[in-house]
């Protein structure tokens, strides 16, 4: 049987990308700096976020959306830092997508915060394909995981904007080679901004908070122009 080939040229995740672009516009208009967090399970996303919410929350309005397959444990933990926390339970899905974020935000009806964090499901593979409309994607790597993690998962490191090395208080015990980790991060994502933190001792957290405040300040001139245009 004969067939004919018809050109199509369509992105498979077009629907997700369109929705993410819409979310990004909405966040810009509301002057919300949105940060996505990705990492492998157990690398300290929730502990890091708890400390960061507390640090930023002293002078800024903050909120967090947290994704997990099951349980609301992470939301309960983060509520120690801010009441503005909402859990997304994905069931069997290994990543968040833009639709889950949009639905959660619409149901939530939270007044736009200055900073919104979206903690993805612990997974270093699947979340890399899905744009959530975030301004910045942070990828976390703990000192106990080994310094070659970026080389093993280049796609997620390359698709992220900032790398955060967590559990630095355990670096010596784990014989973590910080210089090699930094080199590996630069190998998969040249020029990547990198922070080293310990959520336990609080070391390095102030630098991350200051960086985010600066990033949000850079957002604002454009936002005001856009808000003016929208009126």
């Amino acid at each position: 049987m004969s067939t004919r080939i018809v050109e199509v040229r369509a992105k498979v995740l077009k629907q997700n990308d369109l929705l993410a672009a819409e979310l990004r516009r909405r966040f810009q208009l509301e002057a919300t700096c949105v940060v996505g967090l990705v990492s492998s399970p157990g690398s300290g996303k929730t502990a890091f976020l708890e400390k960061l919410l507390a640090a930023l929350g002293r002078e800024h309005s903050v909120a967090a959306l947290v994704g997990d397959l099951a349980t609301e444990n992470d939301a309960a933990r983060l509520k120690r830092a801010t009441p503005n926390v909402r859990q997304i339970t994905t069931g069997t899905i290994c990543h968040l997508d833009a639709q889950m974020v949009e639905r959660a935000l619409n149901e939530w009806q939270l007044p736009a915060p200055e900073f919104l964090f979206i903690e993805n499901v612990g997974n270093l593979v699947c979340p890399s394909s899905y744009d959530l409309g975030e301004e910045l994607r942070f990828v976390l790597l703990s000192a106990t995981e080994g310094e070659d993690k970026p080389l093993k998962y280049p796609t997620i490191f390359n698709s992220s904007d900032v790398a955060v090395i967590t559990k630095m208080d355990l670096a010596q015990a784990a014989e973590f080679d910080l210089a090699a980790a930094r080199r590996n991060i630069q190998s998969v994502r040249p020029g990547m901004q990198t922070f080293e933190v310990s959520s336990k001792t609080g070391a390095g957290m102030r630098e991350v908070a200051e960086y985010l405040v600066q990033r949000r300040a850079q957002l604002q001139p454009a936002d005001h122009a856009q808000a003016a245009l929208a009126q």
């Binding site: 049987m1 018809v6 040229r9 369509a10 997700n16 593979v125 390359n158």
Partner: protein, 118 residues
């Protein structure tokens, strides 16, 4: 594994394209040609496996999925040229070694064409 989610999105995308373009409805869809970047985060074999499952009960049931791998290409500022880096974990120019953060291609998950029964 998120390839099943990708396969479902792929099928939904094709159904939408078919609804919008009459020439895609002229006959049964025999095959889908997909361009898949090596830096897309999607595994080819897992996607092929998922595609068969996701097609069941849709107009694409029984169709083939043909995957063309798109290599990673970066732009080297020093050479002012597009180059393929030595590996996915060494994002630099293969000739001069300059780090090359600008990705030109390799992230694609894109339907290129449909093969329609004539």
């Amino acid at each position: 594994m998120h390839e099943l989610s990708i396969a479902i999105s792929l099928i939904e995308q094709i159904i939408q394209e078919s609804a919008a373009r009459e020439e895609l409805r002229a006959g049964a869809i025999e095959a889908v040609h997909l361009r898949l970047g090596v830096f897309s985060g999607v595994d080819k074999d897992a996607l092929l496996f998922s595609y068969g499952l996701a097609c069941e009960g849709t107009p694409l049931e029984g169709s083939r999925l043909e995957i063309e791998a798109v290599p990673l290409v970066v732009h080297c500022m020093a050479c002012d040229a597009d180059r393929s880096p030595p590996s996915v974990w060494q994002i630099c120019c293969p000739d001069c070694g300059t780090p090359a953060p600008d990705i030109v291609s390799g992230r694609e998950i894109e339907v290129r064409a449909l093969e329609i029964a004539a």
